[in-house]
């Protein structure tokens, strides 16, 4: 069968962005075949490029080697422009004119100040779709405040509403608002492109990471909004199921999550644990009695799980039709999870400096146009030649002049 054309193969995207929340939008689009061009400057490097390899700190900062830079930027083109120069802004505008989508996450007001705000860019490319993502959105009393992904977990209510009841602030280690905002941002862009294809009209999208994060805990927030009551932190428990939790298994920091919903599941669960008598025990025989006696129930289950490995617990329960899963860390996911392996979730990504690297896949599940991560490890300005000369058709003279005035920065890599 002939290779299918990639889903976004006819789109071109330019990105004025750094860190995660903005760049991940472009990364996913590139994976689907869009041509994504990142504009950078050596004068204001992406924090992600400020990377010292932990295996060789003596090498110092290595802007092409960061694994995060791979995760968020594989498959993009890179040009180097010093946007404080008017000549560079002019080139950036020409680039926008050749694009369908602009992604930016500079600090509030910076794009406008550079002359690259939406109203200007619309003049250059009337049907451009532009997304600006930031912590607070582009207006409102705090829109200039600075945040990182983890700040948003706290600000949105997520960290207070999550976790065990006795903990006031429960944080992830993965800056969740950054990735969830990027996915919402990409959805917003695709909606705008759908509208454009029907009407020819472009538009500007402003995304507040705080608002996107509240949206994914919206059902929890409704407890306050509708009933005027602070939602309870449930930790690992549920209002609908018992047992429902995370149980210690054999070995250090090894755990298995278990969730028992129906009475049939509860009966099978008792059988697997070798405690048929629990089925008729008045403390446990119904869901409401199990919820009432959940402390003692959890303790009894823990006595069973702690003598077994997490996988033994998971597979014994799954065989009996009960939802159970190992609390996996990243090593488990790469080396032990047969499901992720069979579905080839982790990808081997070509890398300019390292040959190949392993990265988490982008699980879009597009069966006819599966997409693929392009090359990682590009330098600032890696694709100057292609973009300025081939794509924009700038003459060698013109490019040289732009370099001389400092508008185009030379690439470190050649």
């Amino acid at each position: 069968m002939a290779a299918e054309r990639q889903a976004l193969a006819n789109l071109r995207v330019v990105e004025f962005a750094a860190a995660l929340a903005g760049p991940w939008i472009g990364r996913i689009m590139a994976c689907c075949g869009a041509e994504v061009i990142r504009v950078e400057s050596k004068k204001r490097p992406d924090v992600v490029r400020g990377y010292v390899p932990p295996w060789a700190p003596e090498m110092g900062v290595q802007p092409q080697l960061s694994p995060w830079f791979t995760d968020w930027n594989a498959g993009k083109r890179f040009v180097a422009l010093d946007l404080t120069r008017p000549e560079a802004v002019e080139i950036a505008r020409r680039l926008v004119a050749a694009c369908d989508v602009v992604i930016e996450n500079y600090s509030a007001g910076v794009m406008d100040k550079l002359g690259l705000g939406y109203s200007e860019l619309r003049g250059v490319k009337p049907d451009i779709v532009m997304i600006s993502t930031s912590g607070y959105g582009d207006r409102g009393p705090h829109h200039r405040y600075i945040t990182w992904g983890p700040n948003i977990e706290a600000l949105s209510g997520l960290s207070k509403l999550s976790g065990f009841p006795e903990r006031e602030c429960t944080m992830t280690q993965y800056a969740y608002p950054d990735t969830l905002s990027a996915l919402h941002g990409l959805f917003a862009v695709m909606c705008a492109l759908d509208h454009r294809s029907r009407t020819g009209e472009g538009q500007h999208i402003s995304l507040s990471q705080t608002e996107a994060t509240i949206a994914v805990i919206g059902d929890v927030m409704m407890e306050y909004l509708a009933n005027g009551r602070e939602p309870k932190s449930l930790g690992n428990r549920s209002l609908h199921a018992a047992p429902h939790g995370c149980y210690r298994c054999r070995g250090g920091d090894r755990w298995c999550a278990i969730a028992v919903f129906s009475d049939t599941e509860w009966e099978s669960f008792c059988d697997v644990l070798g405690h048929r008598e629990w089925r008729t025990d008045p403390r446990f025989s119904t869901l409401s009695s199990r919820l009432e006696n959940v402390e003692v129930l959890d303790e009894l289950i823990g006595r069973w799980t702690v003598g077994r490995t997490d996988s033994e617990v998971m597979f014994a329960l799954q065989e009996a039709g009960i939802a159970a899963g190992v609390v996996q860390n990243t090593e488990d996911q790469l080396h032990r999870d047969r499901q992720l392996a069979e579905r080839r979730f982790f990808e081997e990504v070509p890398h300019l400096k390292k040959g190949t690297v392993i990265a988490a896949g982008i699980p879009l599940g597009l069966t006819a146009t599966p997409g693929r991560s392009g090359c990682a490890g590009a330098a600032v300005g890696q694709d100057n030649e292609y973009v300025f000369s081939e794509l924009l058709g700038m003459a060698p003279e013109e490019i040289r002049r732009a370099i001389d005035v400092g508008a185009i920065e030379n690439s470190d890599d050649r």
Partner: protein, 409 residues
């Protein structure tokens, strides 16, 4: 009426058939609030997601589940038994008119009914079928049982959430399902984009487990293969950012994160001004986070001496004035009253005909030409049966009644 109520809709003209449980309803909401005609197809009597507690005013009722109300805005609702012969027939007729079908059945369920991707593709070659399952359509775990907490476990998010000395813990709400839904919305739109160019739809295969691994990938394989350190939960601070974490104020907590040398200098100056601490100005603390890594505990003490002298609001606004990334650790009440969100009209009031009104969380994104908008509250059970089957498909009233009596709708 506001602009949002009268403006153009990004997805107007797109029709989506939704056969989805708690794993997929947020996907339908994302599409519906952007203007797609999302027809929620429930089994006769209504879906089980209507029973999810808590309830509005604590009155259990199929139309009062707060989860259901939140995740089904802007949709129309019909009932249909797609396993019956007549039900299949009606579903096929609807599929001919649709751009997309969203479903969360176990792998193979629709195929067994003769409504799998191939069958639907024959009816409507542009159609996108988006399936959300716990583990995907293929692979050795495809028939395993799962749930929100099991997905958070296998997906890796739990292992890196919470305090080091606590067991792994899940986040509030149902983040594994929300991310699977969001991924499904993204993929479906990409598939629709592709379909409008090539004329060919496709099957979108979303795995809840993979979606969860994907959104927590900062802690994932790339970093670990590079430094050999498996990320685990470690309280409120992030390993790579020093200082970072939650700090006590006189009336609550604030969150702080420092990643840039200038931000550190601003913080050190403030600590010095308020507490008279001279040590904090020591140049050995300056530079990127890695230089402060060995002094994390000491710096946490210095910062607490500052924050505990003020209220959350004082630290938040004065800190931000000094370009330091302080944010409050907000309760739901504090979020609902937040001056910035209120000024942006984030929360939107939704009228529930006959039962009252209250505010919902609003737009996750602001489109200048086609604003996000809640067109209607979540539908009642079979609320649009008459409208869809009778008026739009032209099924005679007589026949509708007999379908109802036969339990098909």
């Amino acid at each position: 009426m506001s602009d949002a109520a009268t403006g153009a809709r990004a997805l107007s003209g797109r029709r989506v058939l939704e056969l989805a449980d708690e794993r997929g309803v947020y996907c339908g909401k994302l599409l519906a609030d952007m203007g797609a005609d999302v027809i929620k197809i429930e089994k006769p009597g209504g879906d089980a997601t209507r029973n999810i507690a808590p309830f509005w005013e604590d009155r259990p009722h199929p139309d009062r589940s707060l989860f259901f109300l939140y995740t089904n805005t802007s949709k129309r609702g019909v009932t249909l038994d797609i396993t019956s012969v007549e039900g299949k027939g009606l579903f096929r007729r609807l599929a001919e008119t649709a751009d997309m079908v969203l479903e969360t059945f176990p792998p193979g369920f629709l195929e067994d009914l003769g409504l799998g991707y191939r069958d639907l593709h024959e009816l409507n070659s542009r159609l996108v079928l988006s399936s959300i399952t716990d583990f995907g359509q293929t692979g050795p775990y495809r028939s395993f049982k799962s749930s929100e907490i099991v997905a958070a476990a296998l997906g890796g998010s739990m292992y890196v959430t919470g305090e080091g000395e606590d067991p792994p813990v899940k986040l509030a709400g149902s983040q594994a399902h929300m991310m699977a839904s969001t991924y499904a919305a993204v993929s479906s739109m990409i598939a629709l984009y592709s379909s409008s160019i090539s004329g060919k739809g496709q099957h979108v295969d979303i795995s809840v487990e993979e979606a969860t691994v994907s959104v927590s990938h900062i802690c994932g394989v790339g970093k670990w293969l590079d430094d050999g350190i498996i990320p685990r939960r470690r309280g409120t601070g992030l390993f790579a950012s020093v200082p970072s974490g939650a700090y006590p104020c006189s009336d609550g907590m604030v969150y702080l994160m420092i990643n840039r040398p200038l931000h550190w200098q601003a913080l050190a100056r403030w600590i010095n001004e308020v507490t008279g601490n001279q040590e904090v100005l020591d140049p050995m603390f300056e530079g990127p986070s890695s230089t402060r890594q060995p002094y994390r505990d000491l710096l946490d003490l210095f910062i607490s001496e500052l924050t505990s002298r003020f209220t959350v609001d004082e630290i938040y606004h004065e800190g931000q004035r000094r370009h330091i990334a302080f944010t409050p650790v907000n309760s739901a009440a504090a979020v609902a009253r937040d001056a910035h969100l209120v000024a942006r009209d984030y929360f939107v009031e939704v009228e529930h005909p006959g039962t009252g009104r209250f505010e919902y969380p609003g737009a996750p994104y602001r489109h200048s030409a086609t604003p996000w908008h809640i067109a209607r509250p979540a539908p009642g059970v079979g609320e649009h049966n008459e409208e869809l089957y009778g008026v739009e498909l032209g099924v005679p009233a007589e026949q509708l009644r007999s379908l109802e009596e036969a339990g098909v709708i």
